[in-house]
Amino acid sequence: MEQTYTWAEMMAVSIAHEMSDGEFGSIGAASHIPAAGLRLAQLTHAPDLTFFCGGSGASNPKIRRLTESSADYRNLVTAEYQYSLDDVVDFETAIRFDFAFLGGLQIDKYGNLNMAMIGDWDKPKVRGPGTIGLIFTGGFKSSFIYTEHHTPRVFVDKVDFVSGAGWLSGGNSRAEVLRPESSGPRLVFTPLGVFDFEPDTKHMRLRKIHPWTTVEEIQAATGFDLPVADDLRTVTPPTPEELHLLRTEVDSDGVLRRYAPVA
């Protein structure tokens, strides 16, 4: 059978499947894939999932258009509540968000994130945009990591600069410096699959593979040795119902349909 969906649509569906009803979270800039996944989850199994949509001030936008800028004010007009940046930092600091979707120029094997620079701070090879909300990984109940680029340059053994604390150096190292109510990252979503963190070592590991790839390809795209979960499985492609909802209620302009079929 011909494949009739793109990797971005698959990724949105993978994200939707992992969302729990009743949770409260946020997404950042240029996060249209997580936005689509969260909205799809609301329309399926998680009607009481709530999310703050980046710089727009929109809580639970119902726009039906996926905007390339999450800060697009058109999200706001269809929202339930207009939050302020005060709300955002209050919730981020007070451990009120169940999750946030976060990314990085570099992501390491313990889920630490770097958005500041590649190389030394004093002599950066590549200057990144900056840490923005990443220190709040110490103020979320937990977080999800998300990237559109699964390469060895993104998934590194150790980040050059810790903008956001993941599980730090693994084991109990995180709880020694941050509040215990704030856990490290739960899952990592990439075009190739879904990853979690091994409960004791807190090392990132492969849990679900997207249909077009293999364990070997994913390992080759990752800059550190990647353990594999015992219950590893290949993700079921989006159902016709999911694609219908995605294309009519979430992304009627087809932003995600313009991605390539496979990553």
Partner: protein
């Protein structure tokens, strides 16, 4: 007394070396007419504290040589990638960087708005590398627990520059989009300058007071600047000009930001001239009916 003036007059006396708080989130709602006027004046040595999500205007001010020191939470072009001039200036150390983040800017301005001496935080910076490269992230003693806590300084600026959709002659400011941080930043500034797409007619019905974002009492000048956020969006009035932002990004990435600035800033005399350069058809094409 009306506070209304032109974008050029509104920023004419901002001195070299001033600290400036700059409004706007990503591709939305920055006071571009004011930024262009500053670049045209050749202002120098600014200390710039933008909102936590800064974009093209900061990159332009860097390219134009206006910036001495920059507080970096996020400076990028969001869906159009990294900010080329910021990236080069940071890599080549031609500007001083305060390695900051959202907490630094938001809590810093919150503390500055009330002139608190500083702000103590629960464990957040702990475990990250920011305190290693930002010597103003410090510690003090919590007098209630005896524990050591991390602190950041209060932020204040000499001038705050913000864009709005509708402002009255007294400066009561309506911002239709992302809410309520311009108000906090404005409270942390000695002088507040608002550019606005529209000036409310003196005899028009007053707006719902719950929708006024910044009180006129703390606004010093209002620059009447129709399409004053172009090529960024002005919430409820017009979308961002994606083509011009791509043109900017491509020229900037190629090291030719000067061409952009020549075309859109230096070769026109003022904001009215800028709008003529863009042209009626293009501006009207950006109108968005979505309120």
């Amino acid at each position: 007394m009306s506070k209304v003036t032109t974008p050029e007059a509104a920023v004419a006396d901002i001195p070299d070396g001033a600290t400036i708080a700059l409004g706007g989130v990503h591709s939305h709602n920055s006071p571009m007419a004011l930024v262009n006027a500053l670049i045209r004046r050749g202002i120098k040595d600014l200390e710039l504290i933008p909102t936590p999500s800064a974009g093209a205007p900061v990159d332009m001010l860097i390219a134009a040589g206006c910036v001495r020191k920059l507080h970096v939470s996020y400076v990028g072009l969001e869906f159009l990638g990294l900010a080329p001039n910021f990236r080069r200036a940071a890599q080549e150390k031609t500007i001083e960087i305060v390695e900051a983040d959202e907490a630094w800017v938001v809590y810093g301005f919150r503390a500055g708005a009330s002139r608190l001496p500083f702000l103590p935080l629960p464990p957040l910076y702990e475990g990250t590398d920011l305190p290693k490269v930002n010597p103003m992230i410090r510690t003090t003693t919590d007098p209630y627990t005896g524990r050591t806590v991390t602190t950041i300084p209060a932020l204040r600026a000499d001038y705050g520059l913000f864009h709005a959709q509708v402002v009255d002659r007294k400066g009561n400011t309506q911002v239709f989009g992302q809410r309520r941080f311009e108000d906090v930043m404005a409270k942390a500034c000695d002088h507040v300058v608002i550019s606005s797409d529209e000036i409310l007619d003196e005899y028009a019905p007053a707006p719902d007071p719950r929708l006024v974002s910044i009180p006129g009492a703390i606004v010093e000048r209002v620059a009447h600047a129709p399409y004053g956020a172009h090529p960024l969006s002005s919430p409820g009035h017009y979308g961002y000009d994606r083509d011009q932002l791509v043109e900017y990004r491509d020229l900037a990435a190629a090291g030719e930001t000067g061409k952009y600035l020549q075309e859109y800033v230096h070769s026109v005399g003022d904001h009215a001239g800028y709008l003529e350069r863009i042209g009626v058809g293009r501006l009207l094409g950006l109108r968005q009916t979505f309120r």
